[in-house]
């Protein structure tokens, strides 16, 4: 058992560190041109877009989870920009690489990778949450165009996106899963209306998108008619390959400790309160278990071994962790939990910032399939129990 990365990777780490030191400084962060230039250099050096072919703007490196991890660590610690973050790079590009037509790959991947366009995800609808395959947004082929009518919801940052990839029902008479196509469409057109969706935190990071005779060309379809469900599964597969990351929760726990140190209970620092200590240690048990569990999963993946059912559990595990941390934080901050964190100029946000974490932990339990769907997946794919009616996407 060896928690270090080994000599080869430490040498690689030195190389990456030197590269970053040579090409990036903190002040660059305020200069969009410098950021773009750095990304280009880092891609040429083989550090970014590693699984994307060179002809589409990637660096086309052999898969190597540890190198990716080293790059992530070094870039993050220098606060250097990594890949463009968004649904385009994260979901559409892998899908196009796997299922897209050559012209689609050529036309869409390079500008997406360069950050010139981003994509909105058009999956969820008001009536289709966990039962995604029940989408009702219709697409009708009229001449050489798809005419699209309906509504999508939970579309993040739709305002800032040029395009959308969407699940659209094009074969209304086919069985549920066989009647969907995976269409690409331009959001900058009269038939599309975008409305921000205010969340319970008061912020608006999601949108509703309405289609009223929106149009897209005949060949802006990925895969064939009626194959959209399968195509979207490919995307989800990519989304889910990420092994549960414990870093976020380690950071949250460190912040939780700080709150416990600054808060008081019965006139003493809360962290000296036996109840608080007990709950912190309980949370840390879950946290360190998950942390080393991710190391184990990573190590096994590196060795080409199957980590087993635990991979189906990561989401529920971190959902529970987030909930435990948020619940304790809410108690520790005391009366600050009576306040809504308001991010406005001139307004100082104090401990009430934890209320965003408090609501966020609920949002995580809901987003991307509720925890009940996760429990189905664990029960069926993880434990081998029989499917029931909500087998969902398994």
């Amino acid at each position: 058992m060896d928690l270090s990365y080994g000599a080869e990777y430490e040498a690689f780490r030195d190389e990456v560190r030197e590269f970053v030191a040579a090409h990036w400084s903190r002040e660059d962060a305020r200069n969009p041109e410098r950021i773009t230039a750095f990304r280009l250099k880092a891609t040429e050096a083989g550090y970014l877009y590693r699984n994307i072919p060179r002809r589409f703007g990637g660096s086309e490196q052999p898969a190597d989870v540890l190198r990716a991890q080293v790059i992530h660590e070094e870039f993050t610690s220098a606060r250097a920009p990594m890949e463009i973050y968004g649904n385009g790079v994260r979901m559409l590009v892998p899908t196009l690489l796997e299922c897209g037509a050559p012209w689609q790959q050529e036309q869409f991947i390079p500008p997406t990778v360069r950050g010139q366009v981003d994509w909105a995800q058009g999956y969820s609808e008001p009536g289709s949450g966990s039962d995604l395959a029940s989408v009702r947004t219709r697409g009708e082929l009229v001449g050489d165009e798809w005419i699209i009518n309906g509504q999508k919801i939970w579309t993040s940052r739709a305002h800032e996106c040029r395009y959308m990839f969407a699940l659209v029902r094009t074969e209304p008479d086919a069985p549920k899963h066989q009647g969907i196509s995976y269409l690409l469409l331009d959001l900058h057109q009269p038939g599309v209306t975008i409305r921000p969706l205010k969340q319970i935190t008061g912020q608006s990071t999601f949108n509703e998108v309405f289609f009223d005779d929106a149009r897209t060309p005949l060949d802006w379809i990925v895969g064939r008619r009626g194959e959209g469900w399968q195509v979207s599964r490919a995307t989800l597969k990519h989304e889910r390959t990420g092994i549960g990351n414990a870093e976020t929760y380690l950071e949250q726990f460190a912040k939780l400790l700080n709150v416990a140190r600054s808060a008081t209970r019965n006139g003493r620092p809360a962290i000296e309160d036996p109840i608080v200590q007990d709950r912190l240690a309980e949370i840390e048990g879950y946290l360190q278990a998950h942390r080393y569990s991710t190391f184990r999963q990573l190590s096994m993946s590196l060795a080409g071994k199957d980590p087993g059912p635990v991979t189906t559990m990561n989401k529920l595990v971190v959902t529970n962790l987030g909930h435990m941390i948020a619940a304790l934080a809410q108690e520790l901050i005391g009366d600050a939990s009576l306040l809504l964190p308001v991010y406005e100029p001139g307004h100082k946000v104090g401990d009430e910032r934890w209320m965003n974490q408090f609501f966020g932990s609920l949002g995580i339990a809901i987003a991307g399939g509720t925890s009940n769907i996760q429990r189905n997946i664990i029960g069926e794919r993880g434990l081998g129990l029989p499917r029931d009616q909500t087998g969902g996407d398994s």
Partner: protein, 359 residues
């Protein structure tokens, strides 16, 4: 034995329910939630006309002369409907004035507090969640200097009952003229709070017990919490009966069904707990403090749990501002923290029970 509401109490509760049903549909509720001051004049007037605001004020001063149990079952309905506004502080201030003001003060304030024409509030907490009378440091004897935190609707209040050192109470009349109010971004926008700075503010001593005022608020918070928890469950059940996924209403899925059954079993018995805490406040002095603390700790804790579970049961829709379930989620946070945390009141229960002494 008759551990049940009287016909009059049930009728009162129903009439408040009907009023709120009519005056406060979900659209209206969100409008007030989003409004500048979180205080709707029409709703306030309607509550006043129904007698809700002077329930415990004696009849001689224009109230109904009822008891805490009556006020608590009414408060449950306000909790159920998520009624926004200065009700809690108003009722508490009225009670304190009833108990302990002199005749002139009573004459001056109670009749107009009973109708809602004047607004009362209470200023209790100091820094570090110092909600308990023995933690107060602000001191008289005639002019106040210092700060009270998280006061309900102080800017609109005509009269303010202030907790001071030694666990005493004082009365500040027309505080708008003599205090400085710093509004806060209230998470629960149905109950707006602000910090209040006193600067040589004239104040008159009251004779009543701050502990009893505290207990009154604890019982009312428990009642509000029970109503709120019940509402969250009702909304989740309604949703489970109408929302379809995978070709059937989601309430038919055992996973969700069991989740809601757990919530129901968790909250339903709490109704009787807040009833008894209110009854003890009225009629069983030796139980009053302890049961108020126990009810506040238990019921508000259950409310927050129910609100979380029911939010999850709804899925994404409940994460939007437009769907008003979050109003109750935020009320749950308020009820749980206001007047002191669960953990603090559980410690009080242990002390008041003399667990470490007896046996």
């Amino acid at each position: 034995m008759n551990f049940d509401l009287s016909a009059e109490q049930t009728a009162l509760q129903d009439s408040v329910g009907r009023l709120l049903q009519n005056e406060l549909d979900q659209v209206r509720l969100l409008e007030i939630f989003d409004s500048e001051d979180g205080h709707d004049a029409r709703l306030w007037q309607a509550l006043g006309e129904l007698g809700v605001l002077g329930l415990m004020i004696d009849e001689r001063h224009g109230g109904t002369g009822l008891e805490m149990l009556d006020a608590a079952v009414v408060t449950e309905m306000l909790g159920y409907h998520g009624a926004p506004g200065p009700y809690l502080g108003h009722v508490a201030a009225s009670l304190a004035i009833c108990w302990s003001a002199n005749d002139a003060q009573k004459e001056r304030w109670l009749p107009r507090l009973a109708t809602g024409e004047c607004l009362g509030t209470v200023a209790l907490a100091e820094s570090d969640a110092a909600w308990q009378p023995n933690e107060w440091r602000l001191a008289g004897p005639t002019a106040l200097n210092g700060t009270k935190r998280n006061v309900l609707y102080p800017a609109q209040a005509d009269v303010m009952v202030v907790g001071v050192a030694g666990g005493e109470l004082m009365l500040v009349e027309n505080p708008a003229e003599t205090v400085e109010v710093t509004p806060l971004p209230s998470l629960d926008a149905t109950r707006r709070i602000a910090h209040v700075a006193f600067r040589d503010t004239p104040a008159a001593p009251l004779s009543g017990s701050a502990e009893r005022l505290r207990d009154a608020l604890l019982v009312l918070l428990a009642a509000d919490a029970f109503g709120g928890a019940r509402r969250c469950l009702d909304m989740a059940v309604d949703y489970a009966l109408t929302r379809e996924q995978f070709g059937q209403v989601i309430g038919a899925f055992q996973g969700l069904k069991h989740q809601l059954a757990n919530v129901a079993a968790d909250i339903e018995p709490a109704r009787a707990l807040y009833w008894y805490a209110a009854h003890a406040f009225d009629a069983v002095p030796e139980d009053a403090q302890r049961m108020a603390a126990l009810a506040k700790a238990h019921v508000t804790e259950r409310f927050l749990h129910a609100a979380r579970e029911c939010t999850q049961a709804h899925g994404g829709i409940a994460y939007t501002w437009e769907f008003p379930l979050h109003v109750w989620l935020k009320r749950a946070v308020f009820d749980r923290m206001y007047m002191g945390s669960t953990s603090m009141h559980r410690t009080r229960v242990a002390e008041l029970s003399g667990w470490a002494l007896a046996g």
